[in-house]
């Protein structure tokens, strides 16, 4: 897994924070989040090989999320589990894998034997965490898709355009969403999201 050299790395938003946990809405850039774009055909033998290498069973239903050792972090004092993997299904043969495990190394042997695609996209997107009791209302200013839990429950993900920016949205736990936004759009999205909180802070 590509480990970030934080001495010389920069992230689009510099770890910016907006609002506060006590203020009803909290937004934070969680920079240098690992990301691997995986392509594998679920009807192929490669699929089983990938699952075995990762130690989980990928779900090819678009929008599903499968986790291994990767519970949501509740407070900033908490450290994430080691060797964690979350797999977000973006397409019938396409997943975003993220987590603390060294995913690229795990998949290297599968790559040499099977037709799969493994691409490091850790810098392609940056991750925002948005959390608070009014989070659905605030997101609904910039997100056209249906945020009601019946339609978008916990541990589902979706792709779309948030304030015209391509994002992956992951409903990761109660009143908490993770937004993976394409890095070049991050500043714009951050400004628009912060602005949406004006009447809620």
């Amino acid at each position: 897994m590509v480990k970030v050299n934080s001495a010389i790395a920069t992230s689009p938003l510099g770890g910016a924070v907006h609002g506060g946990v006590d203020k009803g809405i909290y937004i934070e850039e969680v920079p240098y989040t690992p990301g691997i774009d995986l392509r594998v055909d679920p009807s192929s033998l490669a699929f089983a090989a990938v699952n075995q290498a990762l130690g989980l069973t990928l779900n090819p239903q678009v929008g599903s999320v499968v986790r291994k050792n990767a519970d949501c972090i509740v407070s900033h004092d908490q450290q994430p589990d080691a060797n964690g993997i979350s797999a977000l299904c973006l397409g019938p043969d396409w997943w975003l894998l993220t987590g603390t495990a060294d995913i690229q190394s795990l998949l290297k042997p599968v790559q040499s034997a099977h037709h799969i695609s493994v691409v490091d996209v850790s810098a392609q997107r940056t991750k925002l965490e948005i959390y608070g009791p009014k989070v659905k209302e605030i997101l609904a200013h910039v997100w056209e898709q249906d945020l009601r839990d019946a339609n978008f429950p916990i541990d589902t993900c979706t792709q779309g355009l948030m304030a015209k920016s391509p994002v992956i949205l992951w409903h990761c736990c109660e009143n908490c969403y993770l937004i993976f936004v394409r890095s070049s759009f991050a500043t714009h999205l951050w400004e628009v999201l912060s602005d949406s909180t004006v009447e809620y802070l």
Binding site: V2, V4, N5, I8, A9, T10, S11, P12, Y32, D37, R39, H115, I116, S117, V118, V119, D120, V121, S122, A123, Q124, R125, E137, A140, H141, W143, E144, Q145, D146, L147, R148, N151, A163, K164, S165, R182, S183, S184, F185, T187, H188, L189, E191, V192, D195, S196, V198, E199
Partner: protein, 889 residues
């Protein structure tokens, strides 16, 4: 009820908070509100809500708003308004109010919170559905509320249930397919007259509902008779409501009616202390039910009923204000003039059908109700209340006004805002028009700010009378969103100014900003245009930057280029199809420039693609073409060649790229990556090497877009800024010069390299561009078949050439057309033979130059052409280093 002070037409008034401006003015005795747009007729307030045709105002306080109906403005402290004669002014200052947008999903959307809307909301809320109920007025309860009735508690309590969202002052402005509706909520104007910057003044709601209930009620319409437009003439329901709520201007009233509503309002007026002198009912005999519910109660109060008669004309004071009404019995011919302050007209209820018509539901004519009503056959839409015709018991007559002679018809107003009269209607019909759509456009009836709320059905009925057809045989009422006028700013919401579109930036952008580089828009990206030193203009900066690139070392942020990671054993074969040239034979570690065509054989993108491994490639595309090319690749892989083992992944932002350009680039690279073999023999043109550059893991490609010796250093975008900083630091001793997009363009144009989207517009083949060399003769590829089409192989196609103006300082404006030399200085029209695609001043040549597409271009090399009064000579499209020796350094 607190008092507020407001200004109207320069005069200070006191009003009650919660009153409309119209009500407040009436309470202050203002009858003559304004003069009509075209005929200067004195006019007064006629209606209660958005049906009001006369009382238009300009709001000058707060954000300012032109052309609002005074009946919809709530008085607040500090409100400043002035009356309009139909046309307002746009404010000349920016509207700094905050506007925003919100998306919502629901099981049921109920439009209208009158009694029937509330009942519908209750029905669905009781079933546990998620309900949104919207009403455009300040108060819940529709007509019942306007009549002073108490809304039952069991209905009011629905509004605060957990599964119900209630939005008041919220107008649904459009209904669309699939249960989609757009509404505007006015949130601050009723609270304060100041500009609201922290709270959204208007919130635009975008709602999707499985089921929509339209409970939009109805508006009253007036009658058409002579001088029916004086101040003092009002719709009866409006008049009764104003009087009940404290307007004391009127002492006497005459009610002219065609239905039972007139009686209801007459009794309301009577109970408020007005002397109702007569109810003039065009209906002689009523049904037993109507007699019981309407006529008898009025008679019991001692109100005189004149049966079988109607208003024919009115008289006015010297100022044109109503003084008396002329009542006439058309059968007997008897007339009577009754002096009165107030003339209240009940011309019938016109259901508010607009939202239904937006989604294609056609209203139907109901003779029994003398109205167009809506009964929806669409499963996902239902209509309730007056919209659905729930006013049968008022037994209206199908009557729109008495017979009028020409003189009377000239002052019998159908559309008050347009000053359109019965005479105009007769003229339209006389000219042969029958359809409402024709008449509407001929007379302008229904096209003003009130959008014909009071005139629509009247017009259809009157045309019907003229030509002997029923109102529904005239055509059907079609309306289009928005239902009311909406500020553009409300629709834009937060997508204004810098947030209209995303601004995309690279990881190195902060350095460019700090360096003071002006930015160029490249699609959604901001790219540094040039890096001026103090005192430099663009011309000077570009000369310096290009000189550095050709004589020293210059660097550029090339991170915006599209990048696609391609993996799979069939990737090479796939690229052979996608590009015009061969890629499957490319060695691992080498890069190659490729050209892409559509199936029509026209160039649509280009870029350098590198073979990173046996089955691993990295494609680059133009900055603006990245998304388009990704779609294109996926289209072929998914819909035509799914058997190919190829996967594509976008990595445009994963990688930051710094181009190091110029004869001294080798030296700089050596400083950045000691230990890397940067010799001419050790690092070949188009070769790739992996090494640490400034301590950062990098892939270095020896690629050149300038014709000079050059290297592109690719690193994770996390380290883009660090790389750039180190390049500047270590390059200082070599006077490293950052350059922007302007110099980038000049350098490549001096070498004759095309830019897709600049030299191309989708109608150029590779051959047109002189790039036959890149078209493989050995294989088929996407688009090749089109080269042999008759039009694609025409001999006189436009071909890429160079131009050197004879006046060396004359930089031909890009896009200029030019003609053969004999047309120099000629007056248009003149036949042109080509146009300029790129044009710059070259420091290297010390003169201007251009690239152009010219008919039969290659055959014309050496010819002179005319651009207005200037001339230029056609050359081969390459100007510097024609032998291409500089790229090896």
């Amino acid at each position: 009820m607190s008092n507020v002070t407001f200004k109207f037409d320069g005069v200070d008034y006191v009003g009650q908070a919660g009153d409309s401006l119209a009500a407040a003015l009436l309470k202050n005795g203002v009858l003559h509100f304004t003069d009509s747009t075209y005929r200067d007729r004195p006019r007064g307030i006629m209606g209660l809500w958005i049906d009001e045709p006369n009382a238009l105002v300009n709001i000058d306080s707060g954000a300012g708003e032109p052309m609002v109906q005074a009946t919809t403005v709530e008085v607040v402290e500090g409100l400043v308004a002035r009356s309009l004669s139909g046309i307002g002014d746009l404010p000349d200052t920016r509207d700094l109010s905050r506007y925003d947008r919100a998306y919502r999903y629901a099981d049921v959307l109920v439009v209208g919170a009158g009694l029937s809307g509330l009942a519908a909301a209750k029905k669905y809320a009781d079933l546990g559905k998620i309900v949104i109920i919207m009403d455009d007025k300040p108060e819940v309860g529709g007509h019942a509320n306007q009549c002073g009735e108490i809304i039952p508690a069991e209905l009011m309590s629905v509004l605060t249930r957990e599964n119900v969202t209630h939005l008041q002052r919220t107008t649904v402005i459009g209904t669309y397919d699939q249960g989609y509706a757009v509404a505007v909520e006015r949130r601050t104007d009723h609270v304060s007259s100041k500009v609201s910057t922290d709270v959204a003044r208007i919130r635009t709601w975008h709602v999707r509902a499985e089921h929509t209930v339209l409970a939009t009620g109805a508006f009253q319409r007036p009658l058409v008779f002579a001088n029916n437009d004086r101040p003092g003439i009002m719709l009866s329901h409006a008049a009764a409501t104003y009087v009940e709520r404290g307007v004391t201007k009127f002492k006497t009233a005459v009610v002219v009616t065609i239905d039972n509503q007139g009686y209801i309002d007459a009794i309301r007026l009577h109970k408020s202390g007005i002397r109702v002198l007569a109810i003039v009912d065009v209906r002689k005999k009523l049904s037993k039910a109507s007699n019981k519910s309407a006529r008898k109660p009025a008679e019991k109060l001692g109100i005189r009923i004149i049966k079988g008669a109607t208003a024919l004309d009115t008289n006015g004071t010297l100022d044109g204000i109503l003084s008396s009404v002329v009542v006439s019995d058309p059968k007997s011919g008897l007339r009577e003039t009754i002096a009165t302050d107030l003339l209240a007209i009940s011309g019938g209820w016109t259901p508010t059908v607009h939202l239904a018509t937006y989604i294609g539901i056609k209203p139907t004519w109901s003779k029994k109700r003398a109205a167009f009503i809506v009964n929806s056959k669409v499963k996902s839409i239902s209509t309730v209340g007056m919209l659905a015709g729930d006013f049968e018991e008022y037994e209206p007559a199908v009557f729109f006004g008495p017979e009028l002679d020409d003189t009377q018809a000239l002052v019998a107003y159908v559309d008050h805002q347009r000053d359109a009269t019965l005479r105009d209607l007769r003229r339209a019909v006389g000219a042969g028009m029958i359809s409402i759509e024709h008449v509407k456009r001929y007379t302008a009836i229904g096209t003003a700010h009130d959008q014909g709320k009071t005139s629509g059905t009247l017009t259809m009925g009157l045309i019907g009378n003229l030509v002997g057809l029923a109102p529904d045989e005239i055509g059907s009422l079609t309306f289009r969103p928005p239902y009311i006028a909406v500020p553009f700013a409300a629709l834009a919401g937060r997508e204004r100014g810098l947030h209209t579109e995303p601004i995309r930036t690279t990881s190195i952008h902060p350095w460019h900003v700090a360096a003071g580089a002006p930015m160029e828009d490249v699609g959604q990206w901001k790219r540094p245009w040039f890096f001026p030193k103090p005192g430099e203009d663009m011309h000077a900066a570009v000369l310096r930057e290009c000189r550095a690139a050709r004589n020293g070392v210059a660097v550029m942020d090339a991170s915006t280029l599209g990048k696609i990671d391609i993996q799979g054993k069939d990737a090479g074969a796939f690229l052979d199809q996608v590009y015009t040239n061969m890629f499957s034979t490319l060695k691992v570690g080498m890069s190659r420039y490729g050209l892409m065509c559509g199936v029509d054989g026209m160039v649509f993108d280009d870029g350098v693609t590198t073979r990173l491994g046996e089955n691993h490639w990295l494609m680059t595309t133009t900055t603006g073409g990245a998304a388009k090319v990704m779609d294109w690749l996926e289209e072929w892989l998914q819909t035509e060649w799914p058997h190919l083992e190829v996967f594509c992944t976008s990595v445009t932002e994963q990688i930051a790229t710094v181009a190091i350009v110029g004869p001294k680039s080798r030296e700089l690279l050596a400083l950045l990556s000691p230990g890397l073999d940067v010799s001419k023999e050790g690092f070949a043109f188009m070769e790739n090497k992996y090494a640490d550059v400034a301590g950062i893991p990098a892939r270095i490609a020896r690629i050149s877009f300038s014709g000079e010796l050059a290297y592109e250093v690719n690193v994770s975008a996390w380290y883009g800024l660090e790389l750039w900083n180190k390049v500047m630091e270590l390059g200082a001793s070599l006077d490293v010069t950052p350059y922007g997009t302007e110099s980038l363009h000049v350098l490549r144009a001096e070498k004759g390299f095309v830019i897709v989207g600049q030299e191309t517009d989708g109608t150029q083949t590779p051959d047109d561009l002189g790039m036959d060399w890149i078209v493989s003769k050995k294989k088929d590829f996407i688009g090749k078949r089109s080269f042999s089409r008759a039009d694609t192989s025409r001999p006189d196609r436009h071909q890429l050439v160079g131009l050197l103006p004879d006046t060396s300082e004359f930089v031909i404006p890009e896009g200029s057309y030019f003609a053969e030399i004999q047309h120099k200085g000629a007056t248009p029209p003149i036949p042109h033979i080509g146009y300029v695609t790129s044009s710059y001043f070259s420091g290297e040549l010390n003169q201007s130059f251009a690239m152009a597409l010219v008919q039969n271009g290659r055959a014309r090399v050496g010819e002179r052409v005319a651009i207005g009064n200037e001339t230029a000579v056609i050359t081969e499209p390459i100007f510097v280093d024609k032998e291409n020796v500089r790229r090896d350094g």
